[in-house]
Symmetry: C2
Subunit: 185 residues, 2 copies
DNA sequence: TTTGTATATATCAATATTTACATATGTTTA
DNA sequence: TAAACATATGTAAATATTGATATATACAAA
């Protein structure tokens, strides 16, 4: 099995999901995976008996397959969890553009960073809504590190923290740009 | 040209580099790219006249090609910089394992997080060495946002901040684990 | 003395990921 | 009222990425 397969098992271990939902969960986790990758992989995992699915017929909406983890899947997942984790891969085009910032003029640079700031402010808003929902619905179990929600909760907390830091970094860079502009007057 | 091509142009826009050095720079930027990807791409960029290289013969070491950006490369790079940036992709296996943390026992979880903490403490140490070197060698130009070092400097500052935050998150999770362990006594 | 590491580049095969094509219905927006 | 969007799954082709093999020298460690 490949890494994405284990990642899907990890998410489904919390509760059953459809492929459609998994695409969105992966995107929210910044691990973008297209449905063209997710659907065939779920089929494969089902054939390998790591997952099972329930076919749900719907009216007014397309039918769906709700995947659950099997015992075999859980065992495979456990082995993966305790295995060595490679260094995280961060492919952030914006940050790589920053590297060559001196090539563009100050106003353009400023507006690029302002845009980044706005994007992350939106991310923080929606992340906070998710966190508040978890805190509201699972308040008693959040201190129970063996609860199903715990892992998901601390995961989102880390994402939230990261997004907040991006905002403060953007503001810091904007202040440097402003300081520089003043000395040029 | 593909995204990695632009990223290489971005780095080379600061100063000329060899393919070998670029592999290491990419790794330090968490954008891992193997030499099997870098070398053919540099050749292609040279053929497209985005880059030029100087062949340097060495004694006791293999010969090398030092790539510099051309005017054409710089124009292409500028266009890329002002284009829309897709959302960052973060493929962090450790964080996806955290999702399913409840499957493993408390002590195993604790040691996984301690290991993550140790890895990031090392990252911070080496990042701080890099930052101090930049601050020492370019102290006058660091406030000049049009200097070549500025982009690289604020890039590394962001990486440093991110790594520090990872450490504080690990410590927070460890404290939650300890609190839970106490309530279980 | 052999094995591993650092320096340096190159290519091939295997795998993973992205982009495009395909289908179908209900709701929302211009 | 037509176009876009959300729900839902699927496949095929193109592209990107990883892992392996290849070559060569110097140096350090086992």
């Amino acid at each position: 099995m490949n890494t994405l397969g284990y990642v899907l098992l990890s998410i489904i271990s919390i509760r059953p999901y459809t492929g459609y939902e998994l695409v969105q969960i992966m995107a929210a986790a910044s691990w973008k995976a297209n449905h063209s990758q997710i659907y065939p992989l779920l089929s494969k995992l089902e054939q390998q008996e790591m997952l099972s699915f329930e076919y749900v017929e719907q009216i007014g909406k397309p039918n769906k397959k709700i995947y659950s983890i099997t015992e075999k899947g859980e065992e495979a997942l456990k082995d993966w969890i305790v295995s060595e984790s490679p260094d995280p891969i961060i492919r952030d085009e914006f940050m790589m553009k920053i590297y060559a910032m001196k090539l563009i003029d100050t106003n353009t640079a400023k507006s690029l960073i302002e845009k980044r700031l706005a994007i992350f402010e939106e991310k923080v808003t929606s992340r906070e809504a998710t966190l508040q929902a978890i805190e509201k619905n699972h308040q008693e179990t959040l201190k129970d590190i063996t609860s199903k929600q715990f892992g998901r909760y601390i995961f989102f907390k880390r994402k939230h923290q990261m997004e907040k830091e991006e905002i403060s970094w953007c503001k810091w860079v904007l202040s440097l740009i402003d300081d520089y502009s003043k000395t040029k007057d």
